[in-house]
């Protein structure tokens, strides 16, 4: 037996879904109400979530439990406060310091990881000997990877006019790019339809009980 509050939740979810979908017909007050409720509830949810799941366990509880031993937590606390000062125009510049620290450390950490994973490992993964494979399908696949990578890179080489040898390879490169865009579009269609399926499974299943 579904309890009352679960039923209320299901009905609210179902009516909100229909209200949002009504925009597909044309703009209307039901859509606008649902949109505004979504924005308001999201903002409130994230505010409360941030306080209870990030600030309290990671900062406040540690400073309250042992203010001297955990003195190091005052530093992010002060930096966080400086960031909030952004809302007061007079002290706006105080937020630049924590922001620059954040950008600098993020760039530093990410640079090494991206260099290793996206440059070195990916380059190594294209250094293949396709003819070492007994399987013809794998061999063809690896040849396509090599040609696609090289011609794709040539397409993005702008220091020489795309004519002659470079032009031919750049054109092959753009064919590979077009195929990859097509694949991405196909995956995007699949993703959007999946979301529609998820909503309809909720409406037909949890709400209308037409499906198990």
């Amino acid at each position: 037996m579904i309890n009352l509050w679960t039923s209320v939740g299901i009905w609210l979810g179902a009516l909100s879904t229909l209200a949002i979908w009504s925009f597909l017909y044309k703009d209307n007050p039901f859509y606008k109400i649902a949109e505004q409720i979504f924005v308001g509830v999201s903002a409130a949810y994230w505010l409360v979530y941030t306080i209870y799941n990030i600030l309290i366990p990671n900062l406040f509880s540690k400073l309250i439990a042992d203010p001297k031993g955990n003195w190091v937590y005052y530093i992010p606390g002060v930096l966080g406060l400086m960031m909030v000062l952004r809302v007061i125009p007079k002290f706006e510049k105080a937020s630049f310091y924590p922001l620059s620290l954040l950008i600098g450390t993020t760039a530093g950490i990410s640079l090494l990881r991206f260099l290793k994973s996206d440059v070195l490992a990916q380059t190594t993964a294209t250094m293949l000997n396709p003819f070492a494979n007994a399987n013809i399908a794998v061999m063809i696949g690896q040849i396509i990877i090599i040609i696609g990578t090289i011609t794709g890179l040539i397409y993005f080489y702008f220091s020489k006019k795309h004519q002659g040898f470079v032009g031919v390879n750049a054109r092959i490169g753009i064919i590979f790019l077009m195929i990859s865009f097509g694949a991405s579009f196909g995956y995007t269609v699949m993703a959007r339809i999946s979301l529609l399926i998820g909503r309809l499974q909720f409406l037909f299943g949890d709400w209308l009980h037409l499906i198990k």
Binding site: I109, R113, T124, A125, Y187, A191, I193, L196
Partner: protein, 273 residues
């Protein structure tokens, strides 16, 4: 040509019917397992019993239709193989996603017991930095589970020191932070096998990591791979139920693209003449 001026609302209606009707009246289209799903299955299948494994819930309800079925099927498989599943979350609402799967899966798997072969360590802010910290001292990153109880109270975590103590990591990822961070740190820095479950939108971006370097040991992309994984573990879930609708919708969209192009070229020819 009249066709090019068709009201788009007819297309919306056709898509709604194309997706809705197969959900109510299943058509039973055949499903074949792709090498992608098989790769993920093989890694989990070949991992020894009693090994600690991470399933990271890096998504929120917006991506639930695609990633939740993967979570069910993968955790079911891992529990059947007697792995000790440790759930983490790089997205704030990921922790609730893990809880929901645990409570629903427990109804069909009595052997799934919280604290013995499953634990939810909850959400941690920080993304890549958090994973790096896991490589140094996991117990320091997660001193408590999601319910606030000390991890020292759970014997299943006695051998957990760093991320290297885990046989594999599965990241169910809807964006950043997520799968890419696990690849960059867990795999490329600490050498832990990483498996991915990604939304269909982000799948093309992760495909290049399934390579000779084994940056990704397997990747499930979108609802189709989720349905394939359900098939592999013998659990007909929401992904399998949705595949008929997905196929009909794809056929409809292909038909729209073909008709749209025919109409465009006929119109183009007319204007040229």
């Amino acid at each position: 040509m009249k066709f090019t001026f068709i009201d788009r609302r007819w297309i919306f209606l056709l898509i709604l019917l194309g997706v809705g009707l197969p959900l109510i009246i299943p058509l039973g289209f055949k499903l074949e397992v792709s090498p992608d799903a098989q790769m993920v299955y093989d890694v989990i299948q070949s991992t020894n019993e009693n090994r600690l494994v991470i399933v990271s819930f890096d998504y929120d309800p917006a991506s639930k239709p695609e990633l939740h079925p993967m979570g069910y099927a993968i955790i079911k498989h891992a529990i059947e193989k007697k792995h000790k599943v440790v759930c983490t979350a790089l997205w704030p609402m990921g922790s609730q996603m893990a809880d929901e799967i645990f409570h629903n899966l427990q109804k069909e798997m009595p052997e799934l017991i919280y604290g013995e072969n499953f634990i939810n360590l909850g959400y941690k802010v920080g993304g890549m930095v958090t994973i790096q910290a896991m490589g140094k001292d996991m117990r320091n990153v997660y001193p408590k589970d999601a319910s606030g109880k000390s991890i020292d109270d759970y014997p299943m975590l006695n051998n957990m020191k760093t991320i290297k103590d885990f046989a594999y990591v599965v990241s169910l990822s809807a964006g950043t932070p997520g799968l890419k961070d696990w690849i960059m740190v867990a795999k490329d820095k600490y050498g832990v096998s990483v498996l991915g479950g990604a939304t269909a939108v982000s799948t093309p971006a992760f495909k290049p990591y399934v390579n000779d370097q084994k940056q990704l040991n397997g990747l499930l992309g979108g609802l189709k791979n989720a349905a394939e994984y359900e098939y592999l573990v013998g659990r007909k879930g929401t992904a399998t139920a949705g595949m008929d609708a997905q196929s009909v919708a794809h056929l409809l969209i292909i038909a729209f693209i073909v008709l749209g192009n025919i109409a465009f070229f006929l119109n183009y020819k007319k204007v040229k003449e």
